[in-house]
């Protein structure tokens, strides 16, 4: 049996196929990331993006649509995936995928492009408590991306630059727009780029941490979503949460899609 999870995020579409195999007579799940990130071109509507991502993923995996028994969509654009059999919130999918990747995880921190959230999950990967921020982009990847542009650094360099700083510069603005003006002021006052990068990532971590604290921090903590690729953010988050270890799964931006595929396999949604 092969199921699919498709995560329609605000910036990218992620597709994961999940296959149940028998290994020595025992069922075992094998998952493969076959879907490529598709940035939304301006002339491509979300409906088409989902179709294109799915077709590309099928080609990449060398399987046909007929072999897929069930598709579950998630993410902010989940309702726009017309061919999905069901949909699930990004909160539920993220928790399920995160606990699958790290069975001891109780606190799931999910920071994607559009939104960050804190989730407390039980051993089955079900959500016990969650908090997000419905209003503010300052606790999400898009904010870090916007600030890296202001510093004229690539996202990769931005994250690495932050690790070279040991300064703590508080950013007072809660809003992305005002925060950018703070960054510009820091640039004008000749503050080194690495210090500004750390200030920005500390600010994102602080916003995310406020949400995680609402649900309570309980070991083990796992971070999922695209911001896992930013080592500066991971460092800032550890400091903000006050924990020594944060689990970082492979291919973190696919974990919600994996969760959706797992739920498709369960037939729950």
């Amino acid at each position: 049996m092969i199921t699919a999870g498709i995560d329609m995020g605000s910036r990218t579409v992620k597709v994961v196929f999940l296959e149940e195999l028998k290994v020595d007579g025992a069922p075992q799940l094998r998952w493969g990331v076959k879907g490529k990130h598709i940035m939304f071109p301006e002339d491509l509507d979300p409906d088409q993006a989902a179709d294109k991502a799915f077709e590309d993923a099928l080609k990449g995996a060398g399987i046909s649509r007929d072999q897929i028994t069930r598709v579950v969509s998630t993410g902010s654009g989940r309702k726009q995936v017309k061919f999905a059999n069901a949909d699930i919130t990004e909160v539920g999918a993220g928790a399920r995928g995160a606990v699958f990747m790290c069975p001891t995880a109780k606190t799931v921190v999910d920071v994607g492009a559009e939104e960050g959230r804190g989730v407390k999950a039980n051993a089955e990967g079900k959500v016990v408590d969650f908090a997000g921020n419905e209003k503010c982009a300052a606790g999400a990847g898009a904010f870090a991306e916007s600030m890296s542009r202001a510093l004229q650094l690539s996202l990769k360099d931005f994250g690495e630059a932050s690790l070279r700083s040991d300064k703590t510069i508080p950013m007072n603005a809660q809003c992305t727009v005002f925060a950018e003006s703070e960054v510009v002021s820091l640039i004008h006052s000749a503050t080194p780029k690495e210090d500004i990068a750390k200030a920005v990532l500390d600010a994102v971590a602080s916003r995310v941490c406020a949400m995680v604290r609402r649900v309570g921090i309980e070991d083990d903590v796992i971070l999922i979503g695209g911001m896992v690729h930013n080592p500066g953010f991971v460092q800032s988050l550890k400091g903000a949460l006050g924990v020594d270890k944060v689990h970082l799964p492979d291919m973190p931006e696919y974990i919600s899609a994996l969760g959706a595929a797992l739920i498709a396999a369960d037939g729950d949604a």
Partner: protein, 94 residues
């Protein structure tokens, strides 16, 4: 499950927490739907197929303003939503 709907901004933290485990066996006849003067609550089917109360999407970014009328400044001594929800599922963070 505790679902926190709302946000934190420069002026404070504004979350309405709903203990959805108390919603599934609601003994208040879903009074939250009518108790809120702005009709901010709705019943949704959650990820686990339970019918639970939620704050409507359109209100989740403006709670600080939408709930003002039911706070002490609006002449209330207790919140209509929390009072109507006798199982105690609804709480405000501010």
């Amino acid at each position: 499950m505790i679902a926190n709907y709302g946000y934190k901004d420069g002026s404070g933290e504004y979350y309405i927490s709903i203990d959805t485990d108390k919603c599934t066996s609601c003994t208040a006849g879903r009074a939250c739907l009518t108790a809120c003067p702005k009709e901010m609550f709705e019943i949704i089917t959650d990820d686990y197929d339970d019918e639970v109360a939620a704050v409507k999407q359109s209100f989740r970014r403006t709670l600080a303003f939408d709930c003002t009328g039911c706070k002490p400044a609006g002449g209330y001594t207790s919140l209509p939503c929390s009072t109507a929800c006798t199982p105690g599922a609804i709480k405000h963070s501010w």
